[in-house]
Symmetry: C2
Subunit: 372 residues, 2 copies
Amino acid sequence: MLTTETKRIAPPKRLMYGPGPAMVETRAYEAMAQPIVGIFDPYFLEIMKEIQAGLRQAFGTENEKTFMIPGGGSGAMEAAIANFVLPGSKVAIFAAGHFADRITLMAQRQRANVARLERPWGETFSETDAREFIKQERPDVVTFVQAETSTGAYQSGRNITAVAREHGALVIADCVTSLGAMPVELDAIGIDVAFSCSQKGLSCPAGLSPISISPTAWEFLLKRPELPYTWYLDLAIMAKYFEAPHVYHHTPSAPLYYAMHQGLAAIEEEGLRNRWERHRRAGEQLITGVQKLGFEPLVKNPADRIWHLTTLKPPVGLDEVQLRQALLTRYGIEIAGALGQLAGKVVRIGTMGPLASEDSVTFLLDALAACI
Amino acid sequence: MLTTETKRIAPPKRLMYGPGPAMVETRAYEAMAQPIVGIFDPYFLEIMKEIQAGLRQAFGTENEKTFMIPGGGSGAMEAAIANFVLPGSKVAIFAAGHFADRITLMAQRQRANVARLERPWGETFSETDAREFIKQERPDVVTFVQAETSTGAYQSGRNITAVAREHGALVIADCVTSLGAMPVELDAIGIDVAFSCSQKGLSCPAGLSPISISPTAWEFLLKRPELPYTWYLDLAIMAKYFEAPHVYHHTPSAPLYYAMHQGLAAIEEEGLRNRWERHRRAGEQLITGVQKLGFEPLVKNPADRIWHLTTLKPPVGLDEVQLRQALLTRYGIEIAGALGQLAGKVVRIGTMGPLASEDSVTFLLDALAACI
């Protein structure tokens, strides 16, 4: 028995200041209310093509193979790992957070030979780290997390890709939280395979996850000695839906495509660099403000911080669960607790998309001040 | 450059008479325009719980493990195969269509020992078929397609499950097209694992795919000697998000949940059996009407036909591509061609959800008459 009294959807209005799902663009909601069309409808194929163009801009790439996984960000992560990490191959993982651990689990499921360089959560990796680790492990594939959602740490990857390239390793980067809000720049940095999501920097609802694959990585994929264990996420088959003559593979979700089209149109209209700058400023304002309230940033080095996702140790004596509860009930504000070893120790605050503005940050700071 | 002139989503109005994505309920569109909330928000967890209750009704099951795969119907298919078909185990596949072939590919990817009983596309399997095949192969897992979207053939599975049970095999059923529009009845029929989709009998957009798992199958899963190759679709981990204390696994798509809630509410309000009956009548009306126009049903035996998805051989001399083009451009009507060996030989017409009505079928028949 469905018990919601009116049987209609009437959610409470929430201000989504968490790490994602983040606030959705109004125009994305409007788009989702538009009628669906078929998966080979000329209109749908046009929308698809424009999304792919918009994603290339946001990813900073000319990769032809840039498309959308039908599933969540971890589905795109699995697509990257399951296609490019072969059973028995060596994969080197830069690990300083929950999502690097998730990559590790996925690589182990592929029966790969996994090597990890670990750093405390919240830290990043230096070129010396990369050089020693990669020289020692001689991996087939190197993976790193560009924006570690669990810790708030960002690293472009430049330090890592140069060394990986010297050793002929493919580079996979987790760009789940960076895409759309801060520099990703696949081609400039030299990332071969990047995956992301829709519900963070793109200001869309969850469920459709971008992936981009370099020509080098694509060539590797086509030469795999064995097919991947996964059919659903086999990129060689999936890609055929996204290019003429558009072979059926799965049924894409039209409302999610419509929303992503609008999220990307908003980015294009603002300008990607303007958008990055807006997120950078909002992050700085937040850090300055919360420090006055006694919070301490987990990520010590300002240059290593994700602009739009801030991890904070609360002032001594402040219960983070109670704080989050108070924000939710008094202001409809959602911020998040932490994952794994940081659970109970830090809160995670996102200032993304519509909320990456001076007014929105000021409002949040006032609410925080009132709740502590 | 995103080139859509207004940069807004303005799709042509299509009447979705194909095999899916089918016409979406108006209230599902309204629901998707409602604001998202967080993935642990009490409101969201309530919606989730109600969807699970609604799915149990539609599936005809009391399976506690009934939840939603974040992805398409083939993602749910892969979840079923990757979790319950072990490497080296014997899987017996009843194969008479494209989706049985897809199951085969997925089972092969799992390095299973695959046996197929094949029948011409459009046919179903008798109890004698099942008895001989299962007796000979002694499989660990038996799979069949309850509603074969590629051929329009339905079989409840009763013939198969009884025999499978005698031999101690788990039964996996593809219910992608049956759920919500005709009898699925997992518990009465004895199906252990069933998967479906949102964009056919549930009248929702694509992207969120139901799965239901019997206690017997769940026990099997927990005793697997090795973890599945897939982390993203590992049901043992995924299930923990759907039950207290709701452990993070993926970020569910709130708009798709809202839509599915409304699709299921519409079914509950109409009554599942009334809905089946409405789809049955619409299918009969369609068959009677198209036969007068010279079309011939692919599925010979009326009892073997999917009520809401009809496959038709066009009259001699009629080009099915031109027919579909004419319907689309003159009436905004989408019907579909066929897959694989039936491509170019049959068309597929869906009369689902809002289109399973006398008026809608009459309108379609008039349009067909005008276009041939």
